[in-house]
């Protein structure tokens, strides 16, 4: 499964589990407008660490992603 597909899957699963309405996902979607709050995003990052074996946001020079596209790129760069 590609990193992008895994990320999208986790967004959908966490939204369902946390009873949040997920906005239509696109690269331009601002994460804070996705329907997921900080706690949900934290859970997504933890689940991705379990699935992909990486947490790219703990690096000191990690950027804070604004859009879903930024978020996916951080993971793609880290798995490259």
């Amino acid at each position: 499964m590609s990193v992008k597909v895994e990320i999208v899957t986790q967004f959908e699963e966490v939204a369902k589990q946390q009873e949040k309405t997920l906005a239509p996902l696109s690269e331009e979607l601002v994460l804070l407008d996705s329907g997921l709050d900080s706690l949900c995003l934290a859970i997504v990052v933890a689940r991705l660490e379990d699935k992909l074996g990486i947490d790219p946001f703990t690096a000191d020079d990690a950027e804070f992603p604004v859009t879903l596209g930024d978020f996916i790129r951080v993971y793609e760069d880290a798995t490259r």
């Binding site: 601002v30 804070l32 407008d33 934290a42 859970i43 990052v45 933890a46 946001f57 000191d60 990690a62």
Partner: protein
């Protein structure tokens, strides 16, 4: 007129002057402090609340702010009801604080059992001339999370809450303050009092408002001083509206401020002074660190005299200070300070060179985005499930909220039940947790394990810090 550091809140904020120019901006309404000279948020019924123990239970932060301004020095006791107080804890709070009046901003406030008086509170002020001079040294009661699942009720007075503000020096100049915190929590209340006593204005946050909308609104009011937890700030930096504010002062508290978040804030707000503060509801504000580095200088420890003394004992930070709470409310409440007057913060520190760094919490307390979780209260809910033999709730580090709650559970009969019901039982346990606990306390992962390590004492091994 009494000195500016004495008297009730209304007297002290008035002493800072310029009332008509200073405002409290909520998400839906605003009030200038000048409006309060001949107006009341309490329908002009302040006298009825004189000498009473008042539960301030409002849906909105602005109405809470107005009630606090009017009632300090008038009420005997003010209980600041946080927005997420579970309804089943309300009778406990009423009984413990001997509540005999409710202040509510609901259109039709429901009367609470055993509370004889309900007074409405609205941001549209009623004309009134109220005498707000302090006759009562009002107790301010703040609620924090307790091990047993019941809230702990921490007793302060304006003097202890404002103790760090008098000595804040240049920061107390007039400004527009704001905070991501709710002002009914210690961290938010500090900023509210700084704005009022320092002669400034304040933009209040709202749970119903997105981070972007809040930042945009705060920016439009020209916010100069902004505070929040590291998790609040991480969320702000993920917002396209992060640059809508241009603060002179950025403050972090309530969680460990790591070097990464300090560096990110420095990059985003290059003109701002960035400080991380250590404070707790019980111990009060202990210190601010303004050098942009994580941790704090070792020279702060074991200094004698002054408003705040700190020491390290058994690895954790202890604080003795004029800003410390008076105690917990309740007949069987534990002591808040030790025999020498020190509060054990439970925050474990480690010395690296000439600085101390926070490494976690004793007793396994989990800090999810600034909200404390006691493992025991979550374990109690899990253990109530008939298929659970025992459980251990622990922390998992997270770059967004600092930490998340994780549970390891041993089911009856040891290993996995042969009938393949494990997934179903996991779902049932989590459903119970969601029903009984606020969201941040619900385990994000629930692992079924065959055994949990016990120490020689027979107690669960908790990986401290």
């Amino acid at each position: 007129m009494p000195p500016a550091d004495e008297g009730a809140l209304w007297t002290r904020l008035s002493a800072a002057g310029r009332l008509p120019d200073r405002a409290l901006w909520g998400a839906g309404a605003s009030v200038t402090l000048g409006d309060l000279v001949h107006g009341s948020s309490l329908a002009g019924r302040l006298d009825e609340l004189r000498g009473r123990s008042v539960l301030v239970a409002t849906t909105d932060q602005l109405t809470a702010a107005l009630a606090l301004i009017e009632l300090d020095g008038v009420a005997r006791r003010l209980v600041l009801c946080p927005p997420d107080l579970p309804p089943h804890d309300v009778p406990f709070v009423i009984a413990t604080a001997e509540i005999d009046a409710l202040v509510s901003d609901r259109a039709t406030p429901a009367a609470l059992p055993g509370v004889p008086l309900t007074v409405p509170c609205h941001a549209s002020l009623a004309p009134a001339t109220c005498e707000r001079t302090g006759r009562h040294p009002t107790e301010w009661i703040l609620l924090t999370s307790g091990t047993s699942g019941r809230p702990k009720m921490v007793v302060h007075q304006l003097a202890s809450l404002a103790g760090a503000i008098r000595s804040a020096g240049p920061l107390s100049r007039a400004g527009v303050w704001s905070t991501f915190y709710d002002i009914r929590r210690y961290g938010g209340l500090q900023i509210f009092l700084r704005a009022l006593l320092g002669g400034g204005s304040m933009v209040l946050s709202s749970a119903r408002e997105s981070t972007s909308d809040f930042l945009t609104r705060a920016g439009a009011h020209g916010v100069t001083h902004v505070s929040g937890t590291p998790s609040h700030w991480r969320r702000a930096l993920m917002s396209p509206a992060a640059h809508r504010i241009a603060p002179q002062y950025v403050r972090l508290s309530g969680e460990i401020a790591d070097q990464a978040i300090l560096d990110h804030l420095r990059a985003c707000y290059p003109a701002a002074g960035i400080a991380h503060a250590f404070a707790s509801t019980e111990a009060g504000v202990a210190f601010d660190v303004g050098d942009g580095l994580a941790g704090f200088p070792a020279s702060l420890i074991d200094r004698r005299g002054g408003d705040v003394e700190m020491k390290i004992e058994d690895g954790s930070l202890r604080i003795r200070s004029t800003r410390t709470a008076a105690g917990y409310l309740g007949d069987h409440a534990p002591a808040l300070v030790d025999g020498d007057g020190f509060v054990d913060t439970g925050d474990v520190v480690e010395r690296r060179g000439d600085r101390y760094h926070f490494v976690g919490r004793r007793g396994g307390i989990i800090n999810v985005g600034g909200l404390k979780v006691h493992p025991e209260e979550v374990e109690a809910v899990i253990n109530a499930h008939p298929h659970v033999r025992m459980s251990r709730v622990r922390t998992r580090k997270n770059p967004i909220t600092g930490a998340l709650v994780v549970a390891d559970v041993v089911l009856n009969g040891g290993g996995e039940p042969a009938d393949g019901r494990v997934a179903e039982i996991q779902r049932e346990i989590l459903r119970r947790c969601r029903e009984a606990l606020p969201r941040h306390k619900v385990p994000t992962v629930l692992n079924v394990v065959s055994v949990l390590p016990l120490a020689d004492s027979g107690k669960l091994v908790r990986r401290d810090a």
